[in-house]
Point group: C3
Chain length 281, copies 3
Amino acid sequence: MTRTIAILTDFGTRDAYVGVMKAVMLRIAPDTRFIDITHSIQPQNVRQGAFTLLTCHRYFAPGTIFLVVVDPGVGSVRKPLAALADDYYFIGPDNGVLSYAVAEYLDAQIVELSNPAYWLSAVSGTFHGRDIFAPCAAHLAAGVSLAELGIPYDNYQRLAPPLLEIAGRKIAGEVLHIDRFGNAVTSIGELRRAATDGLYLIPPFSKDQHRYPVQTFAPSVTVQVKGFSLPGIRHTYSEVAPGEPLALVGSSGYLEIAVNQGSAANQLDLTTGDSIILEIG
Amino acid sequence: MTRTIAILTDFGTRDAYVGVMKAVMLRIAPDTRFIDITHSIQPQNVRQGAFTLLTCHRYFAPGTIFLVVVDPGVGSVRKPLAALADDYYFIGPDNGVLSYAVAEYLDAQIVELSNPAYWLSAVSGTFHGRDIFAPCAAHLAAGVSLAELGIPYDNYQRLAPPLLEIAGRKIAGEVLHIDRFGNAVTSIGELRRAATDGLYLIPPFSKDQHRYPVQTFAPSVTVQVKGFSLPGIRHTYSEVAPGEPLALVGSSGYLEIAVNQGSAANQLDLTTGDSIILEIG
Amino acid sequence: MTRTIAILTDFGTRDAYVGVMKAVMLRIAPDTRFIDITHSIQPQNVRQGAFTLLTCHRYFAPGTIFLVVVDPGVGSVRKPLAALADDYYFIGPDNGVLSYAVAEYLDAQIVELSNPAYWLSAVSGTFHGRDIFAPCAAHLAAGVSLAELGIPYDNYQRLAPPLLEIAGRKIAGEVLHIDRFGNAVTSIGELRRAATDGLYLIPPFSKDQHRYPVQTFAPSVTVQVKGFSLPGIRHTYSEVAPGEPLALVGSSGYLEIAVNQGSAANQLDLTTGDSIILEIG
């Protein structure tokens, strides 16, 4: 069966790095399909890579192998890892880039890629994507088991979770990602109204759908960002006039700040890390 | 048989949007090949998407499915469409982005994607590419018929055609696209000399090769653009010295303004929409 | 068997040019896999294309067909070529873009693509990538032999090699490429210490591993670039503090100037062509 290796890096596409990783993998597992998630993670921005992997991976079929190389510490003591969780494989450095996705699963098995039999014969000090991660991904695709790749590894590095603080009727979050259209994806999930009382905040993509109850006295919601006050949470961009800003729950289940047919990042001067406050009632 | 889905969007490649659409499609039609046409249509520039689809689609094999997502009105009342024309399938929003290509065919069948059985089970208000268009494209690839996807749809939205006005010996057009090299692709087609009389303007890629007769009294042709006057229509860049501007019929059959080994867009300050006049005789 | 066509161009990804070449190839050889090496060679920078092909091609499996289109002289007298060397196929214009890679092999067979039976029926003056190079690559993938594509061609154009001058204990080179991370790849290869005497400079990727003996009286090495003096040759970025510059042998076997978790190009103001001096002892 053709296996899929989904690739997520900060390598860009102007050098041959991604092509070389694919070449290495095809020599090991010729019957493999590659899907490029993105190679435009900001250079060495581990957290952006972790967030992107978290939000996209569930759309892939079971059995998909995620090759994730955002690796500022390449060649240092940080370990190379592979994880198996809910029939997904994740491969990458132990710097937290896998941690948002792996933390979604209670029963993840993790190994250090300690078996050099599955690396390239010569390992450079600067390109483990080519020399260790890609070959191990390809060997998984060719049928090698996780246990053959290396020894169990428990204390993998976890990134601090994105800001999400609830105090009374205020929920504080942060801008996590600006997309191509200038939409600002935040760390605040979807609010749902329970049958019995108040509102619940649904953390997006959390496997157990843990709910944060939110006290509320009125149905109105306001989003505060960069001095702007946006009333209500919309469902589509076109609920406001072209050029107008709005808050809505985006396609990954996170609260987004957008401008209908425009760029919220430009118009509201938003950048990653900006504070956002959701006020209820 | 492996089916090809050719993808054309304004999603860029720095987010995971394109990868997620491919993931969704592979779950439905695992034996599918993807060809990326481009994801760098300017955000929400429907006309640029329509023109790109028009000029490239004929190079693809019969049976190709074109997934076209330039969709500023996502979530609003605009309908999602699929068309079958001359053994090509086109899928996208009813905002005109399919119209230049579909208008090439007299017998196109068009349906509204009204059957939710072929969508993802949850449809967002902001990403129909993932939730409706990609799944329907994949179901076509997996053998579902056009008629199963939805009900017939006749009055699809047509974009106004690019400017092409003929008055005596003057042909007026506009710059439609600036390519990576700074070549300016215009709306004016190829001139051919008939056996009997005068010149004919061949509208590029028009199926019926409708000809516009052009009165002419002399064999000379001049192209006027941004105050520059370019004599003659060349066949290759190297007919002028490096750094010199020229007019020639480009690879898609449109009159182009170029600079040999340079950028016409930079050197002649050209942008989309600029006026161009071709004077004959 | 599925053949791989690896594609290297200066076409960028914002136009449909690469997608159209793939469409043309799939019509001729439907069971073909494409790997994009990069399409971001600077427009018409033949030497950058040649260097990229040189450094990446050995990672691909035997039988790979390299389609290389950096072609400022398209439509002029320059010939279209195909070469077979050590079970790799190379296709591109005779302007030197293939020459760094082909020169690695003593027994390369080269033909001019002179047989129009393997071109598209209509050949434009501006896009031989689509009309000649891609179809010939696809016919090779479909089983056509090199000899069928055209007549033998001996005097192909060779680019001047990158600067590499050894004078006593000084080795002079140049910056050949700035990568996405701001690392500056130079023309100087790896130094190795022989068992018996002195140091040897190993020219990267040279098939016969020709060695340049370098006289040395002391084990110390210093790299001079843009007024900076970098002591020693490191193995990994993390051997210096974050933000500090260093010299190391990069993943392709060339001396690189880098900054740990930063951009050497920005911090040291490096560009292609900059001089670099390695002083020994």
